[in-house]
Symmetry: D2
Amino acid sequence: MIKVGIIGGSGYTGVELLRLLLPRDDVSVQFVSSRAHAGTRVDAQFTSLRGLCELQFSDPASINQADCDLVFFATPNGTAMQQAPELLAAGVKVVDLSADYRIKDIAVWETWYGLTHASPDWVEKAVYGLPEMNREAIQSASLVANPGCYPTTVQLGFLPLLEQGLVATDGLIADAKSGISGAGRAASVPNLLAEASDNFKAYGVSGHRHLPEIEQGLARMSDQPIELTFTPHLLPIIRGIHATLYAKLLPGSSLGQNDLQALFEERFANEPFVDVLPSGIFPETRSVKGSNTVRLSVVKPQDRNTVVVLAVEDNLVKGAAGQAVQNMNIMLGMEESTGLLAPPLVP
Amino acid sequence: MIKVGIIGGSGYTGVELLRLLLPRDDVSVQFVSSRAHAGTRVDAQFTSLRGLCELQFSDPASINQADCDLVFFATPNGTAMQQAPELLAAGVKVVDLSADYRIKDIAVWETWYGLTHASPDWVEKAVYGLPEMNREAIQSASLVANPGCYPTTVQLGFLPLLEQGLVATDGLIADAKSGISGAGRAASVPNLLAEASDNFKAYGVSGHRHLPEIEQGLARMSDQPIELTFTPHLLPIIRGIHATLYAKLLPGSSLGQNDLQALFEERFANEPFVDVLPSGIFPETRSVKGSNTVRLSVVKPQDRNTVVVLAVEDNLVKGAAGQAVQNMNIMLGMEESTGLLAPPLVP
Amino acid sequence: MIKVGIIGGSGYTGVELLRLLLPRDDVSVQFVSSRAHAGTRVDAQFTSLRGLCELQFSDPASINQADCDLVFFATPNGTAMQQAPELLAAGVKVVDLSADYRIKDIAVWETWYGLTHASPDWVEKAVYGLPEMNREAIQSASLVANPGCYPTTVQLGFLPLLEQGLVATDGLIADAKSGISGAGRAASVPNLLAEASDNFKAYGVSGHRHLPEIEQGLARMSDQPIELTFTPHLLPIIRGIHATLYAKLLPGSSLGQNDLQALFEERFANEPFVDVLPSGIFPETRSVKGSNTVRLSVVKPQDRNTVVVLAVEDNLVKGAAGQAVQNMNIMLGMEESTGLLAPPLVP
Amino acid sequence: MIKVGIIGGSGYTGVELLRLLLPRDDVSVQFVSSRAHAGTRVDAQFTSLRGLCELQFSDPASINQADCDLVFFATPNGTAMQQAPELLAAGVKVVDLSADYRIKDIAVWETWYGLTHASPDWVEKAVYGLPEMNREAIQSASLVANPGCYPTTVQLGFLPLLEQGLVATDGLIADAKSGISGAGRAASVPNLLAEASDNFKAYGVSGHRHLPEIEQGLARMSDQPIELTFTPHLLPIIRGIHATLYAKLLPGSSLGQNDLQALFEERFANEPFVDVLPSGIFPETRSVKGSNTVRLSVVKPQDRNTVVVLAVEDNLVKGAAGQAVQNMNIMLGMEESTGLLAPPLVP
């Protein structure tokens, strides 16, 4: 029986970890911490878990974390960088769902996140937890930096094109749309139903923290510097990200729709959580609701030289808790898809 | 390995049966029939099932149904009454999700459904599949009439009060609200997102087909004739029913809030799929999204003599496919909750 | 040119007053106050008003309110009872959209609102602003207590039955459902889109502040004590209330569906903002979106003795700002429907 | 009093024309035709218009259209091209909300619409009804081709950049998202609330009929051939389009954020229905709900050479019926904004 703990369990990624882990009989959740709710039952906050969870939220200070094989950080940015090193030193593996260990360039991270990094040495040792790019390194990692929600779809969507060096790297565009659970569970006027439903808007157009994370990943795929225009938008839905990606084929390219389709199908043929749709079928966010799958389409409109890639994920699953469990499975030598194969909830 | 078939698999209850049955390793879905989609892959209609289902929709005429241990009818009203008898004669058990076998009084059924019943003898032998009332009879049934979505919440909500004879039976009120998936997957102007979202309305106020089904069940519980005012409403959500029930305590009753709370908790203490919430906590539909649980609250406002019961379910699960699977588990001697314990999808 | 002011203009009722008043050329909005936003432009908070409003939010302290013919209070409960008397003393008329002056029994008000009333003498002088009941008194009122959103639909729905003494007054039921704008514009976790959308629940079942207001009004109509069970629910829509009302005809009543239909049509024949739908047509909330109209249906299901009334309104218009403007029109001797006749926004 | 008629009045653009025209006292709607609903009252189909409209739907065959000053076609594509010429010959002005007269190149139109054009001579004489580009020609037009919903936002968004020749014309991208009312009021499974809500997807990625219309307009602005990648998506909202536009500044451009902001503000300074938001503020669809305004933002992210323009409109108003009324006002010599200045409905 694997023993795990969750630090910061009262947000959406925390409860999603519970949804995925509680039904498993090979994993035991030892604790769920929450400073705000310490001492109250988890199922008093999340009625949906009544009958499935006897835990109370623990005070972070009172937990014996070293008793765990692996600990998830589902905390705001800035917490894991302070608390993870002690756990790691005690031999506990860590999956950090926050942004603390995602960006290798400390100066870049500090600029975008407005903090001084507390454990820069662990940034170097951390493995970026996108299994489709990094599976081997994750197997032996002590610390995995779980990718952001947008970065997962954008990187997977561009991956085949950039790995093969088929498109210009200086004019990439990612027009991304996210369900509102990506904004977290804090009280906020703009995220009220009366403000955000029956509505749609862009935000962070001038600069969003996921931009440097994505550019780092794309540069690594292509071995070239990247210039990406990244425009996030807010969808009036709970779960789901749809990324619409645009790239220009290099001059002289003779790749047609069929070639692109074959390229994508081959690249992801053995990936358990990436589904390339048949040519002419476009993905919808609900088709992955509650599941760890990313669905992709690739299109070459009017046979011109701009390639369009469409990618959907559930931002709380493949974009957060599901990918964290996938990483846990890999790190602990378990079958990678264990506990992650329930069908999406449609309709 | 249990072998099952699904007749009428292209609607919402059909795909929901697949969502619940496909992940099981003790059940094999032999066929899914659909006249309209015969010959096409199931996952071409339901992208969410890609990778989980290799079946094609079959033509109903070409199926060897007798090869199954149990067959589900997820068909419009009027089909099962014609096709089930042959299967039953061949020793195949049947769970009918339509209304064909729910109402014992043939004349009442024919009036409300506008059809002549094709197999009235089987109506008599059919067992009404509400396990919380009828578990023993279901165990030995060949044919189970799966309850309607509204009737499940309304009957379970009134059950403790009527069984104990605590309330007047001639002035019951059920103000019920359903998500739009209850209206099925047929093209329809009123159910378009542009018509039904950001909107709310009652329908069938003068008379709804679930009224006689509910009154039959309530009369059986109380051994008295019942007069129920039943008002269904359409919610701009996909899944979920909320029934708000009103009953008057009999004159002279001294039952207080605590007595009612204890009554409900005791009645359902051993029911795996009925959750009585603590006093003062009211249920919300999302707390059962994707799950087979009904959550109930009982309230005595202002300590006056009207009792209010609140009940929620997922109309496609406990209100249809989940209860059908629960019935299958009971009929085939399996653990009743097998395959039905995944946590609800919240948020 | 009529001069008006708005105290507390940064919430939903405040901006709704602006939406209704700004296009008028017979009314000039002199100021909109907001402690939180003082000094910022109104259209910076409400982009929808760009080009229509040059005002800044004022600090309440710095306003010369006496310069107005009439002032609206769109403030939280407890503010108008302190500030209105000074204005009234200066000859300024007041429409209070909060609950401060709605309930005549000071002790009852203080119990439900948890405050000591600061101007109980003005409670007695205040006129309850439901024009369909109180038009004449409003004409000469200095202070109008604008009704609550739920109370408007519930009172109008029961009005013909209670005025004529046709139903039992001790077992009335109002099952009411409100769009989430009724909860106001404050940051709140339960009202986030990720919590409240695709969801439905009851709240305040044990007791809601609108209960004593409604019972006071119903008692006045019927000249009898009232016992109402009032159950509010939260709809995942922005605007709209649907009240489903239940009443029992008195024993021996011979009233049929046609009689009830005629009763309702006659009672409201001359009301500009009450629309009785044809028999068999049920109202939907969107049919009054953005408008000051209440639409009603009356039904006698199965010809039994329970009467069902369905009533819809836009909670921000007839349930708040629109009714306030209607009251202003009456108080100032203008045509009652001035500025209130724009068609609802459908779809 | 201006006399107008509406041909094809039972869809969303038809009822929206009524919403805008009925309150006017300078315009009289003579008839609304609908083959499907001929003989029934308009307010039986659209309850929201009860009390505002005494008309019945007319049979198209029985109308004396020549009695009108102007007739709107709110019909499916292929109708106006057959019926408008007779009206025009009789001296009646026409605003066609369908696509029949939008594209000057008949062969291109026939390819994309799959029809043989019935009145190609009138295509040449028709004026494209985008007042911000074409105001003078509209003033003297007999036949105005009202722009499509997507083309209105995309053309207005690119207008300042292309008129001034500042960006590359061969790599333009329009990532556009539309509310579902754009799909019309026909029964359809994919547009059911149970399918389309809590969901988001792209469609027509390989080619959408609005592409040639947009490219024609952009080419005219820039006097150069255009290559646009146009990706429409379906939003789970009723009204609203958000277009996110991408263009590359020409090599050597020294334009900064402030220059672009100034460019946009100046270009639209005198336009009554185009609102350029302050730098750093991004538009949301609800800010124009029910109104004829387009709101625009221009951004130069990271000071790189890709310019992002954000544009929102209400697809039924500025994207259809509102722009049609604006064109009517211009064609008939009335003040352009008459009847179009009501504030948006927010929240």
